[in-house]
Amino acid sequence: MKRWIDWLDQRTGIRKLAEEALFEKVPGGARWRYVWGSTLTFTLFIQLVTGVFLWMAYAPSAHTAWESVYFIQHQMWGGWLLRGIHHFTAHAMIVLLVLHLMQVVIDGAYKAPREVNFWFGLALLLLVLALSLTGYLLPWDQKGYWATQVATSIVAITPGIGPELQQLIVGGADYGHHTLTRFLALHAGVLPGAILVLLWAHICLFRRHGLTAKEPRRKPDTTFWPDQVLKDAVACLAVLATVLFFTLRHQGADLGAPAEPAEPYSAARPDWYFMFLFEFLKFFPGNTEIWGAIIIPTLILLLVAAMPFLGNWKLGHRFNLGLLFALIIGAASLTWLSYAKDAANEHFQHAARAAEREAERVMELASSPSGIPVSGARTLLRQDPLTQGPKLFAGHCASCHRYDGHDGMGGFHASAYIVQSGDTLAAIARGHFMTETALRQLNDLAAGEPDTGRPLLVHTPQSASDLKGFASREWIAGLLDPRHVASTNYFGATAFADGKMVKFVTEKIPADTPAERQQLESLIAAVSAEAALPLQSDMDARDAQIITRGREVIRDEIACIDCHQFREPDDLASAPDLTGYGSRDWLTAFIMNPAHPRFYGDRNDRMPEFGESEILTPEEVGLLADWLRGDWYRPLEP
């Protein structure tokens, strides 16, 4: 063994190198307060290793970034562990950097002749923050996309070169493929490269000047190996244990829904270590943004960089300590303030929950047997009836229809009401089926009556059927129930409130004897079976006989075919076609044009011809129909 080492040493001088590295003097003995630099080197090493492995599975483009990160997190062996370690180590680095800075300032290790090394340290701090910022965008989820918009918007206000600088960073006028290729090149190449060079210089200078011993020295001098190395190793292990704790608790790192420029993301927030800057910006009105975003942070940074010079002054060290703690307390307070505001902000909480639901849904779809299409995971949500149906319903249908009493999104459809002279709030509320309190809250009204001419937001009254469970047996049973057919949930608020159907149901549908009830039930089953609803397929298969019987009832006994067409062409039919009633074909055709002779013809009551008038695209109509029919992908129960 010795022979080999001698051979190598003669050619490389390795013994001297190892000696210099390991037997660095530690005056006053090994101490815990010296571990921070080593833990930082250790975390950087973790990031390089995990980062390179992540890189091997990551594809930077607007159609593949989210998708490849999803694949790492949910499909690859140990992917969640790798992502989690990388993610939480990044957080640990920020904490360790602050601790290291505190130790250096408290111990006066910034003073001459160590000024340059102090500046190297500050530069490293900034580079690590830049790594965090660039890394936040790479998964290309809603969270990273919108939070990074704020950062690149700030770049654009840099005097003189702002817009060009922003364009260079973003890689074009808008976020896209080149934003990701650039951010990855920065995150995985330029920044770590710069960090390695600076860190090497930082350690060389540290060795040149030696360790700044904390006075009084409690123990005899020792060497780095093994005394300090042991303490460093314990500290590194503690850091790793913390990182693993969070990784296991979160099962990796979060991944939101894929970035979508046309969808609002009201839960956009930076990671916790940038929250103080985020909050700080709120204090700068209008044109003073540049002060909060650029000038003041730069001045503070310059002041910190001047610490070595300030330290020469008699009270300088105390001033530096005061400055450091003021900055830490300031940043901590702003961070706390920001989180406290969000915790109390109903809108934010609501948006955060909605974001979580959307993220869960896209994971379900991505893990479905059909998987992620070439066009990317964004398409999954855009083509998902469960995601788009409620939005389309709220936007286009809820001004008349309801879905289980709400607008599809769990809210209400609002319209404007102009306060007339002599109006009272109570009367307005009553007129719109609201409580006075709800009306006040909705419009931020203080006590007293509103001014005449003021527009108020009011609930739009329901003027067409409630479509929850449309064409299901339950829904048809309600329609054929004399007690309900004229309620607002069916025809009550429409032009058909006194129509033939309501009259027919109230007068002609008998359900008194058990035989009649059975007849009605088979009729309901038969009409509902026309829809072939996915959620009723088992029931429909089981009740095949009842359905066959129901068809006879439709044709011969109750004689629905006097008005409706059913399974045979009928030119004289005057009411909507019952053939395939509620099926996907029927429903899409109906929404496209309810005034078609097959449906209401010229008796159509106010319902827009969504397809003919190009209010909705055929794809949108399909999504709406699928959603109303409960036809969307559901993962198999585990």
Partner: protein, 174 residues
């Protein structure tokens, strides 16, 4: 030649050759790096956003995605969702369109009610229904960016979708 002069020439050549051989590859890289500067957003022509029928004349802003052709580096999508707008139609028939992007730092503003108007979920800027700045001390330097609208064939709403630089008090097209 005398030795001192020869020495100077040697040094000058060494520096020049070294610089040239280093700068040419770096220059090629720099050219590619600067390429995005010439790809400023071409002014977007008018885009059909919705039909007039989806926009009752009640003054309530409604949000619509803007779907248009978009070239993103090497891919072109004929129907990309490039952004969104708030549209409102007043009782007298006037149309108003606003870019949903907050002029402060680029977040997506939300409609929060007739009294509250629009609110930015990031730094708490708020705007009246007409898009003007509402809260005193608003971080936003200007009101929401109003966009040109057109009604075509008496039935369709078209909007000239544009983005403007955030953080400035005037609308500078991005």
């Amino acid at each position: 030649m005398e030795p001192a002069r020869r020495g100077f020439l040697k040094r000058a050549f060494a520096v020049t050759l070294g610089a040239v051989s280093g700068l040419i590859p770096f220059g090629a890289g720099l050219a590619v790096f600067l390429d995005p500067l010439r790809r400023s957003a071409a002014s977007t022509p008018f885009v059909r956003v919705t039909s007039l029928e989806s926009l009752p004349p009640d003054g309530i802003p409604r949000k619509f995605p803007v779907i248009a052709r978009r070239s993103d580096a090497w891919t072109t999508t004929p129907d990309a969702r490039i952004g969104a707008v708030y549209l409102r139609r007043l009782a007298d028939g006037t149309l108003q369109a606003f870019n949903v992007t907050c002029p402060h730092a680029g977040c997506f503003v939300e409609f929060a009610g007739l009294t509250e108007g629009y609110r930015c979920p990031c730094h708490d800027s708020s705007f009246t229904l007409d898009g003007a700045i509402k809260n005193p001390g608003s971080p936003s330097p200007r009101g929401l960016d109003e966009l040109e609208t057109e009604i075509r064939n008496g039935a369709d709403v078209w909007v000239k979708y544009q983005k403007f630089l955030p953080g400035h008090d005037s609308k500078i097209p991005a």
